[in-house]
Subunit: 411 residues, 2 copies
Amino acid sequence: MPTLVMKFGGTSVATLDRIRRAAKRVGVEVSKGYDVIVIVSAMSGETNKLVGYVNETSPLYDAREYDAIVSSGENVTAGLMALTLQEMDVPARSWQGWQVPVKTNDAHAAARIEEIPTDNINAKFGEGMKVAVVAGFQGIGPDGRITTLGRGGSDTTAVAFAAAFGAERCDIYTDVDGVYTTDPRITDKARKLDKISFEEMLELASLGAKVLQTRSVELAMRYKVKLRVLSSFEEQSDEAGTLVCPEEEVMENRPVSGVAYSRDEAKMTLVSVADRPGIAAAIFGPLSDAGVNVDMIIQNIAEEGRTDMTFSCPTDQVKRAEKALNDAKDAGEINYHGLVADTAVAKISAVGIGMRSQSGVAAKMFKTLSDEGINIKVIATSEIKISVLVDRKYMELAVQALHDAFELEKA
Amino acid sequence: MPTLVMKFGGTSVATLDRIRRAAKRVGVEVSKGYDVIVIVSAMSGETNKLVGYVNETSPLYDAREYDAIVSSGENVTAGLMALTLQEMDVPARSWQGWQVPVKTNDAHAAARIEEIPTDNINAKFGEGMKVAVVAGFQGIGPDGRITTLGRGGSDTTAVAFAAAFGAERCDIYTDVDGVYTTDPRITDKARKLDKISFEEMLELASLGAKVLQTRSVELAMRYKVKLRVLSSFEEQSDEAGTLVCPEEEVMENRPVSGVAYSRDEAKMTLVSVADRPGIAAAIFGPLSDAGVNVDMIIQNIAEEGRTDMTFSCPTDQVKRAEKALNDAKDAGEINYHGLVADTAVAKISAVGIGMRSQSGVAAKMFKTLSDEGINIKVIATSEIKISVLVDRKYMELAVQALHDAFELEKA
């Protein structure tokens, strides 16, 4: 039997009625002759509630306990989805991560999947089971304890299962009907893309587009998993949604495919750092050890042996970054006069594989922002992406202006 | 190190504040030098919510999925309790049932614990961990799937751990401060008992007193686990609550220790049964096969080869009992003229180990009820218990009158 992976996000399983609607979609694919692996998220709101409990109990929590706690929401949905399918006379059963087992490394709260043995589930398919419902977002570490894959990790679970089982396709059902040129809540000119390349999707995902977890796109790219994003709230054809696929299958050749933004980025500046060879390593080593995800980095020109070092990181890691840097200062590993965190910023990014072949994209982006009177605080670029930090109050304006400037509303 | 088991029920861990209060109690025992195993229930309301989801999704649910779903509440509390203890600098970690592993039989939704290996947890105690927090109510079956022990099963988890680890005592923290002579909501003369024998507690638990799960008391009696029931809402001394212990340790020698009641009992009468040798087996065999828990049984004197047979069973099993008896009648295995179910009854029981040595207890009970004008519908006795079925409207009056008659308010 050909295998299909279908993943349902939190809003798609938010109530028993929605679980029933999702189960019907699964039934349609089963009736086409597929063995289906369904990956489910927690009912929407559940994981946030549990994360809230953890943060209130222990701000610097033991990540192993965090994992044991926040993984429970997916277990509930998996069982309910299996029961719902059984009620529809579709032979189904649920698996929790450790039962498959979804083997991960020991990076609790941000674990990576290392292996998914297929024998348990395939044996049940061989016995006539049609749907394996698997709790997403979770696995088991080498220590035998539960791990989780980071927020949005169920997408990664889905792609990993599609790769392991050689699935024909991996359909990600969510509350939007595909990938857009930008967030439709920011501009009604936003347009759904029929196709987008893995590389572009990867940048958009890591830049704040909430459609897919970054890691899931990486994984799909590496294992050539045909990935589709579509809505669980609409009747679906086989061409619905947005297909995420290799670059050569995307026909359009635009300089920019999409504009992303993120409110969750903070700008941190180390004022008057004693400059010396190895200072960057001395600063960013401890940050890395503390699990801080540093994104953009700027070093000013040094004067009289001292310099300013600016970097960005997720807003909720600011406290951790401050602690790591203060500890390094106390240990005499680095020396600086001040540490300033600015959380009233936003990151705006333009993404497009067309940038590789077309020049002038950065210039056009900077001029557009300048024309709107928006000051750029930090710039970072990659082969197919230009990101800037701006004052958060200009975020919507910047996105709208760039969407217009690159004519993204046109197909 | 001596080991102590402490179990906290749903109301004792209903909020993060209450978990903190419970953790402080655990900290007190750790500071006395104990290695502590903490068994937790789900935060109150959680399990009911999950059971509600299951029943709405699939009224005749697959018990294996039920177990996977409803066990998740305990996992959350276990992690939160471990984090709370860590915040208080008490080295702690959580275990889910399958991680210990708590090995059970395969009777999903009503499983029995078969083995609790102690090596995993003891190894951690050896490394300096002071508290093992274990999710109650759950285990793992021979099929590798999650099992649960039935409602109130966390009490049984606690006693089973106390037995397996040879704990000095098993403290059950709950929302009442001990075992009472009767329900204080029925009479304010109800008095807390300092000690009660296993046998009496077993009768009271099975007769409707909601303090402890029956199985947990059976287990404590078999393995001689010193069991204490006490309140998580009061400051506690070592003598607080009620100690459930072997008969010989209970000094008081009362004929009656407590009066219990149950609203959940129905009276069923088979009218004009064809009497013959083996008729009782022909009636109660099918009921047993259908999972009906028959409690009291009365057979009238036969006249002209026919008799009436009356029995009691839990109210929610009436439909099942009717089906089983009708099926047996259709199959020609039994013959009767009518089947009458009366659910407007209540069971009142007087329990006391003193009954073994003191006569006249039953006579006093019947006279007391008679003096109040309460008609007795069915009587059942055991060595240390007398139970009667009466009209439900007399339930409170009967309890109050018996509590007075046996002078239970006096220490």
